[in-house]
């Protein structure tokens, strides 16, 4: 926790993006999380990603639930819209907002308690409905705000700070998202921004439900030798399947890779995701293989990271519902409520 505000000074060479903002323009109030919290690194990665994508901050809605993770939207994108909702209810509030205004970029920020315990049902339904959003789970395996009890994502057999062994099985949100039909599924690590930032960029560019499970060590309660979500453990067991470059349509491709090393995926919006393979056998376009691989690696105690699955032709909730292109909140009364004659017509068609 810091009481000092970050000075307004910045490095003289601090670059500006295409719309004239510096990275510092995407910052917000000073974090009140514990010193060293992985969540602060994720906030920094979100700032970096939005800066690099040259996103106008007012085009972003950041929506969260309750918990350490859900506090973080206060610490990035200070000029964006925000809604700190009820515990575990971020997906519903986000879905509603998305239905009302499909033009905004939705960042759902949640944690392992918020998404894997109280909000598990909400999480599942937002995935299966394909809500167009970037759903970031800041996953530390403990309830930090209540001083370090195991959360639902804590691995069976891992130890609490006091040495108690966890006897419950862990919920793997990545496996669930794959099974529930999410069209973009990734896992990353707060301690590796080189991997995390491009994944966030790709997820924002993705046109469907994108889940990023970010292992985010809790320095205060879950960074000890018996933990499987500590900085050291994740670094030692990180099985990264690929490295990602995100290329926006207008950027020329400047780096050459040997054939077979790179998988290029063009998304709906024209952005190109270039995946440098670290594991030769891994194809992120194969959902079933991804599920298999994850299970195998999990059984060996490895943490698979990278862009694990992507369906570049994903369709979202609006497509499924066949809504109009214009955001609903911009339609006039006449369009939204066409009157009793229109209702009679619909009723007649159902008789």
């Amino acid at each position: 926790m810091t009481y000092l505000a970050k000075p307004k000074f910045h490095h003289p060479s601090l670059p500006k993006n295409a719309i004239g903002f510096t990275r510092r323009d995407y910052e917000a109030s000073t974090s009140t999380l514990c010193a060293g919290c992985g969540h602060d690194s994720i906030s920094a990665a979100i700032i970096e990603a939005c800066f690099e994508l040259a996103i106008e901050p007012h085009r972003v809605a950041k929506i969260s639930g309750i918990g350490c993770s859900s506090k973080t939207p206060d610490y990035f994108l200070g000029a964006s819209h925000g809604f700190n909702s009820v515990h575990g209810r971020m997906p519903s509030v986000l879905t509603g907002a998305n239905l009302a205004n499909r033009d905004l970029i939705y960042l759902g920020v949640s944690g392992d308690g918020d998404s894997a315990s109280i909000g598990l049902g909400q999480f599942a339904h937002s995935m299966r409905r394909g809500v167009n959003m970037t759903y970031i789970v800041e996953n530390n395996g403990v309830y930090g705000l209540t001083k370090g009890q195991f959360s639902a994502t804590a691995d069976r057999g891992s130890k609490s700070k006091k040495g108690v062994v966890n006897t419950d099985n862990a919920i793997d949100l990545v496996a669930m998202a794959l099974q529930l039909g999410a069209s973009f599924v990734a896992r990353s690590f707060s301690g590796d921004k080189g991997q995390l930032v491009p994944i966030i960029k790709a997820a924002i560019e993705h046109g469907g439900a994108a889940l990023i499970d970010v292992i985010s060590p809790c320095i205060a309660f879950n960074n000890h030798p018996g933990s499987t979500k500590s900085l050291d453990y994740v670094r030692a067991h990180n099985e990264a399947v690929n490295r990602l470059d995100v290329l926006l349509g207008r950027e020329p491709i400047t780096v050459d890779y040997a054939p077979g090393e790179v998988v290029s995926v063009t998304q709906h919006d024209g952005s190109v995701l270039r995946l440098r393979k670290l594991n030769d056998d891994y194809d992120p376009r194969d959902r079933l293989a991804a599920m298999d691989f994850l299970q195998q690696q999990a059984a060996e105690g490895q943490i698979v990271t990278g862009l694990l699955f992507i369906d570049p032709d994903a369709e979202d909730l609006h497509a499924n519902l066949n809504t109009v292109r214009a955001p609903l909140n911009q339609l006039g009364d006449a369009a939204l409520c066409p009157g009793s004659a229109a209702l009679d017509k619909i009723n007649a068609s159902l008789r």
Partner: protein, 593 residues
């Protein structure tokens, strides 16, 4: 690259840019904090120990510290270090009780000091309390040397010189005033164990162009004229005055002329305005008093009629640069310019002159007539004789004279104790954590953009009416507090301990200046490009630490670090800490022998 050795005194010393740039290495941030705390006497004593003349320097220093100030690199203007020094001098209590006492027992060694300027007096200040018998010779009746004769009273009142030269002379120093040394041979014959030549660079350069002899009555050498003004031998000058030269002496000349009847005073320089040797603030002061500066004009001829000066003719030139970037002034091909005037002041440089040092005293001189001396020990080829101040390497400034004085004192002290003078003592260094609690630091680390505060000046009309009226009024306590708050506390160092680091990135994320990077090791040139913000200022070091679990290195670019301490505040393990670095240059005495 090689990990940084933070135990080497120079490493953190360089980070304190002001202290590093100061020839005497005064611990600037420390005394600025004391000023902010209202502890003016304590601030004064830190200065007095280091630079001997805080009140004088607080008005007249050439301030090498200010261009070096980190505020320049992160904002625009330096902290007004020099004028804060004056605050300490202006508002201190009576500090006489805190000064060293004259030595109770003399050590039997006698040191002669030629000239009562800053170099000699600094040697005396350092040696007299140790028991040396110090005898200062000066042709003038009062001590101060060129500080008294060349700096106009409206910049430096006599009372300040009297006070601070007095502190030195009161240490049991014998002052033979009005006693000019005319012969080194005779002086050495008096049996002194060591002699310090601190007589300055007393000869003003002349300008030998047509008309110089014919119009001599109205052409004056700048420093001689300033001395005459200082002694009230000159009280008037013509209505129209031309000052030739672009250094600080020229600025003193033109401003003095404005006060002695010069209504139309102009400065004419050979170079461009930007390249003038005068400090920017002295040019500003001249401009404020309505004195124009004409540049790129080379004096060609003094015009005269009936034995009386009528003006000066100048050739117009322009600057051309050769392949090596050296500037050459070449004729611009435009018609000559003629300015009419009644008097000319020539301030085109100063020279050393040692007519009183016989060439058979064992003191070797080089082709330029300068003494051959060791750059560090200041010892001449006659091991008994040391040179300091302007006399050593030509005209510089007061703070360099003080720095020389300290070094000469160390040399003499070692020499007279039969020690190797080339073996120099290390500075005294401490490094102490400033952490008081989880969010408490013992220094003000809320860094904000804050523009430099201007020193109040006396009203122009009143200032010009009286040559003894000090123009700058100095900061009051409130302004001093505000200006002191601009100091970034660069002496409170970011100290990193790799074994404690868990590489959580908190420091990287929070650093407002993107100074910190964790990355693969490499050669310095390569590493500088791979940092979070490229480290292009090669004058500033990289702080590199290895021994991290991931095998990476921590590389911190010291260049624009604000010393805000956020890295340490956000560090969960205390791998970063803010430590106050205090460095005092060794001075003569048992500790450095």
């Amino acid at each position: 690259m090689t990990p940084t050795d933070i135990a080497a005194p120079d490493y953190f010393h360089k980070v304190v840019d002001c202290q590093w740039a100061c020839p005497a290495h005064t611990p600037v941030p420390e005394y600025i904090r004391l000023i902010a705390a209202g502890r003016y006497s304590d601030a004064y004593m830190i200065n007095w120990r280091s630079n001997v003349f805080p009140g004088i320097l607080g008005r007249t220093c050439d301030r090498p510290c200010e261009p070096a100030c980190r505020r320049v690199r992160v904002e625009e203007e330096a902290v007004a270090i020099c004028r804060l020094k004056r605050v300490a001098a202006d508002y201190k209590d009576d500090i006489k009780g805190r000064l060293p006492k004259p030595a109770a027992v003399k050590n039997g060694k006698r040191v002669a000091l030629v000239g009562a300027g800053p170099a000699s007096l600094t040697v005396a200040r350092d040696l007299a309390p140790l028991g040396y018998t110090c005898v200062v010779f000066d042709g003038d009746t009062r001590a101060g040397g060129m500080m008294r004769t060349q700096i106009p009273k409206f910049r430096l009142p006599d009372s300040v010189i009297d006070e601070e030269t007095g502190y030195v002379l009161d240490l049991g120093v014998e002052f033979r005033s009005g006693s000019r040394v005319d012969s080194m041979k005779a002086l050495l014959a008096e049996g002194f164990d060591a002699v310090v030549v601190g007589c300055g660079a007393p000869r003003g350069r002349d300008l030998d162009i047509p008309g110089r002899r014919e119009a001599a009555d109205n052409i004056h050498i700048g420093i001689e004229w300033l001395a005459s003004v200082s002694f009230n031998h000159v009280e008037r000058i013509g209505r129209r005055v031309i000052v030739l030269g672009g250094g600080n002496t020229a600025m003193d000349c033109c401003r003095s002329a404005r006060r002695l009847g010069g209504e139309d005073v102009k400065v004419v320089v050979r170079s461009g305005f930007e390249e003038m040797k005068a400090s920017p603030w002295e040019k500003e002061d001249a401009a404020r008093e309505g004195i124009p500066i004409h540049n790129f004009l080379v004096p060609k001829e003094f015009t005269h009629a009936g034995g009386k000066l009528t003006g000066v003719t100048f050739e117009k030139v322009k600057a051309e640069y050769d392949a090596k970037g050296r500037r050459k002034l070449v004729p611009a091909g435009e018609p000559d310019v003629h300015f009419e005037c009644d008097d000319v002041l020539v301030a085109v440089g100063q020279e050393n002159a040692f007519p009183w040092i016989e060439r058979d005293t064992g003191i070797a001189f080089d082709a330029h007539g300068m003494p051959v001396i060791d750059k560090v020990t200041l010892q001449s080829t006659n091991p008994k004789v040391f040179f300091a101040g302007d006399a050593a390497f030509g005209p510089k400034n007061i703070i360099w004279a003080v720095a020389h004085g300290h070094e000469a004192a160390v040399s003499i002290d070692k020499w007279l104790h039969n020690e190797d003078v080339a073996h120099r003592p290390q500075p005294a260094v401490t490094l102490v954590s400033q952490k008081m609690g989880i969010h408490e630091w013992s220094y003000k680390n809320e860094v904000m953009p804050d523009e430099r505060y201007a020193v109040p000046h006396r009203d122009n009309a009143a200032a010009l009416a009286d040559i003894a009226a000090e123009v700058e009024l100095g900061f009051d306590a409130k302004l001093a507090l505000a200006e002191a708050g601009r100091c970034l506390n660069c002496d409170v160092q970011t100290v990193f301990s790799a074994p404690l680091c868990i590489e959580c990135d908190a420091c990287v994320d929070v650093c407002p200046m993107d100074c910190i990077t964790f990355t693969q090791d490499g050669e310095e040139a390569d590493l500088r490009q791979r940092l979070r913000a490229p480290a292009t200022n090669l004058a500033q070091d990289l702080y590199v630490a290895d021994g991290l679990k991931t095998g990476r290195v921590m590389a911190k670019d010291e260049d624009v670090c604000l010393h805000c301490g956020l890295c340490a505040e956000r560090c969960p393990t205390g791998a970063w800490d803010m430590n106050k670095f205090y460095l005092e240059v060794a001075q003569a005495g048992p500790a450095c022998r």
